[in-house]
């Protein structure tokens, strides 16, 4: 074919190639944009979920609720004032360690400290019950009455209708 010189083919091929490249690139951009949008949307959604979870966490950690649960399920009480000692002022007596053989000889790190006064043991804690405590009926009633289900509350607040 005389009329179509190799140069022409090169030009056409080049045109076709750049067209294809252009299409490919624009498709990539579109694709990337839609992915970006969906990521942004899901980030927003996750943020909203985090907010909701934080609100729920705060709601579940109300001091009042924790106190109610602790009273029901734990055998511990807040320390009474006379059970507390000042860490700096208190003169703790460190019991001498049980003697044992040390092969190399170096200075023992812990030196028994002779205490000035006796440290009174605090009131013995009540022996722990070994079976998991079951909530009492009063507790359950109280819980039902007072602990408003978080989801229910979220559904209710605002009361648009």
């Amino acid at each position: 074919m005389k009329t179509l010189k190799p140069r022409t083919f090169i030009v056409f091929a080049f045109a076709a190639l750049s067209g294809a490249l252009l299409l490919y690139t624009s498709q990539n951009v579109q694709d990337a944009q839609s992915r970006l949008e969906s990521y942004e949307k899901s980030i927003e959604g996750e943020k909203e979920k985090i907010r909701l979870l934080r609100a729920e966490w705060a709601s579940l950690n109300r001091p009042e609720r924790l106190e109610r649960l602790a009273n029901e399920f734990l055998d511990v009480l807040p320390p009474a004032p006379d059970q507390m000692v000042d860490r700096d002022a208190a003169n703790f007596e460190i019991q001498p360690a049980v003697e044992f053989e040390i092969e190399r000889d170096f200075e023992p790190v812990l030196q028994p400290v002779s205490a000035g006064g006796e440290v009174k043991p605090s009131v013995a804690p009540p022996a722990p019950k070994h079976k998991p405590p079951a909530p009492s009926r009063e507790f359950r009633e109280q819980e039902e009455k007072e602990a408003k289900d978080f989801n229910k509350l979220i559904g209710e607040i605002g009361g648009g209708t």
Partner: protein, 580 residues
């Protein structure tokens, strides 16, 4: 097309003039078919892209957004547009006090509902509270925007989507949520459906919050709970009408807890009673009674250069015009200043006030901020009731807390200003996050007077009317107050405001705790007494004891110097059995 023409012309030129006509035609044919081939290829690729590649990636996007906007403009009165970015409020330790949450509401664009009957049936299944008839009616209304259900649960959104009607869509709105519930309502406040603050911090910092800027308050939710629990216990035990209280840091006026009972759930302000909405702490003005003796005594020692052993004749009631000033815990003898304070002698305090003089006492009360509206971050504050004109009798009664009505917050601030060493502090609720310790250099009393008042306050608890406020090792000091309420212009001795202002630790004051109970009724185990010493002092003791374990404050060892604080005043006290 123009571009194509030019391209073709150029191509022909390229082939040169010598080409034969046949070659030319042939060349053109090839060119045109190549061009069409290319175009078909482009279309094929694009079709493949749309049908295969993007089909799996592009989520279905409805055009309903526009519909919502149209509907919004049409029915603005029904759609609540809440500032999405309204910022959170935290306590001093970063515990959440108020936040904004997204909720979804379901609406229908009835033009896009293809099977109203089936859709209505399915919707009623998901929302049992809706009635089939009503929903069907809405779906057939022909309107482009109909609310079906507001604030729906996240789980139900999916169920609604599974119906598969393109006409059902969700509109998101934002609601204010208060994790601490009623506990913090009087300080944090609450808002309307559009989350505009109506009370408390929510109101006074409305714009600040709407601009998306967070707030940290000086409150501590743990102490808030403790204070509320103990006031509630006293209110319940003494069958009282109401109660209020505050815990304040005496060094800078920061409010760690503020309670007004009864309170209400901030999520439903519409359902709250009037007395529940009323914030006694900042809005209630009361004649607070004997707790004011702290101020008259401070004024006395500040203005008169006298020793603690100074005496007052409290053997006879004072008569001024029609008024007679009597003692509630009458001793009927000559009392030293510490005795006046610990027995809460009205006569002795009136004599102190008289010695100070009207002008000076009034100026002193003004310096303490007791006569002016308090400058506070919560804007619902009341103006104190001050006698106009202020006569001499007002000076006498104001010395023991009658005739002048202030809010409980006024009182806590004034007590803090004296016991902290004499520097005026203002109550504040918003944490200064620059970290700078803000203390004023305005002195209201000298360090010496401050020290004397500290000793006197400790004496009230070790020897006097406030003994029930003592917590071993914590050097609690304080003053009781039992004031009769004015009913129809007369003092009613059946209706009292019983209060106690406590400070601890007395040798280096850190916290002031004020608790008042409105109209307590004497109980069997209190021998019918409902005075500040019986009602509020034990509540303060319980608060101190719980606070100590929460904040990890160690007690002073028995017999140590701090534990002996105030003992030196015993020499001025004649030993007798003390009634509560």
């Amino acid at each position: 097309m123009m571009a194509m023409h030019r391209l073709r012309r150029n191509a022909i030129k390229l082939e040169g003039e010598r080409s034969s006509a046949l070659d030319l035609a042939h060349g053109r044919l090839v060119l045109i078919s190549a061009f069409f081939g290319l175009v078909y290829l482009v279309f094929a690729i694009r079709a493949f892209d749309l049908a295969v590649i993007q089909a799996f990636e592009m989520p279905y996007e409805s055009e309903a957004v526009d519909v919502v906007e149209v509907a919004d403009r049409a029915e603005t009165q029904e759609v609540s547009v809440v500032a999405k970015g309204r910022a959170d409020i935290y306590d001093r330790n970063g515990e959440l006090l108020a936040t904004t949450l997204k909720t979804s509401s379901l609406y229908a664009d009835t033009h896009l509902i293809f099977d109203p009957e089936n859709t209505a049936r399915q919707l009623v299944k998901i929302f049992p509270k809706l009635s089939y008839g009503k929903v069907l009616h809405k779906l057939q209304s022909g309107r482009r925007f109909e609310w079906i259900e507001r604030n729906i649960h996240p789980d139900k959104i999916e169920q609604v989507m599974l119906i598969g009607e393109p006409g059902l869509d969700f509109k998101e709105s934002y609601r204010r949520f208060y994790p601490q519930g009623e506990s913090t309502v009087h300080m944090v406040g609450y808002g309307d459906i559009d989350a505009n603050g109506l009370a408390g911090i929510e109101r006074s910092f409305n714009n600040h919050l709407n601009e998306g800027r967070e707030l940290h308050l000086t409150m501590d939710v743990r102490l808030q709970h403790i204070l509320r629990r103990e006031i509630k216990r006293s209110v319940d035990k003494f069958e009282a009408k109401a109660g209020a209280g505050v815990i304040m840091d005496v060094t800078n006026g920061e409010i760690l807890a503020g309670v007004s009972l009864p309170d209400f759930d901030p999520h439903y302000p519409g359902g709250a009673e009037k007395d529940e909405i009323f914030n006694m702490l900042t809005l209630g003005v009361y004649e607070l009674g004997s707790v004011f003796k702290i101020f008259s005594t401070a004024a006395f020692f500040e203005n008169k250069n006298v020793p603690m052993s100074v005496t007052f004749d409290a053997s006879e009631p004072i008569k001024v015009g029609r008024h007679t000033i009597r003692d509630y815990h009458a001793e009927n003898r000559i009392l030293t200043a510490p005795e006046v304070f610990m027995h809460s002698s009205n006569i002795g305090s009136a004599l102190m006030g008289q010695a100070v003089g009207t002008e000076k006492l009034r100026a002193f009360y003004k310096d303490l901020g007791l006569l002016d509206t308090i400058d506070f971050e919560v804007r619902e504050v009341a103006k104190p009731l001050v006698p106009q004109p202020w006569r001499e009798i007002n000076t006498l009664t104001a010395s023991y807390g009658h005739g002048v009505s202030t809010t409980p917050l006024h009182l806590a601030g004034a007590v803090a200003s004296i016991v902290n060493g004499g520097y005026a502090v203002k109550p504040k609720l918003v944490l200064d996050e620059t970290g700078e310790k803000s203390s004023t250099d305005v002195r209201v009393v000298s360090a010496e007077t401050a020290q004397r008042i500290r000793q006197l306050l400790r004496l009230v608890v070790t020897e006097g009317t406030g003994s029930k406020a003592d917590v071993k090792g914590y050097r609690v000091g304080g003053k009781t107050g039992t004031a009769e309420k004015i009913v129809n212009g007369k003092y009613d001795n059946k209706k009292k405001i019983s209060s106690f202002v406590g400070v601890f630790p007395m040798d280096a004051p850190q916290y002031v705790i004020y608790i008042m109970v409105d109209e307590p009724v004497g109980q069997k185990d209190t021998w019918g007494y409902a005075t500040g010493g019986w009602v509020a002092a034990p509540a303060v003791a319980r608060t101190v004891s719980s606070m100590a374990s929460v904040l990890g404050i160690p007690p002073a060892a028995e017999g140590s110097a701090p534990d002996q604080f105030g003992e030196s005043l015993r020499q001025f006290v004649s030993t007798r059995e003390v009634s509560q």
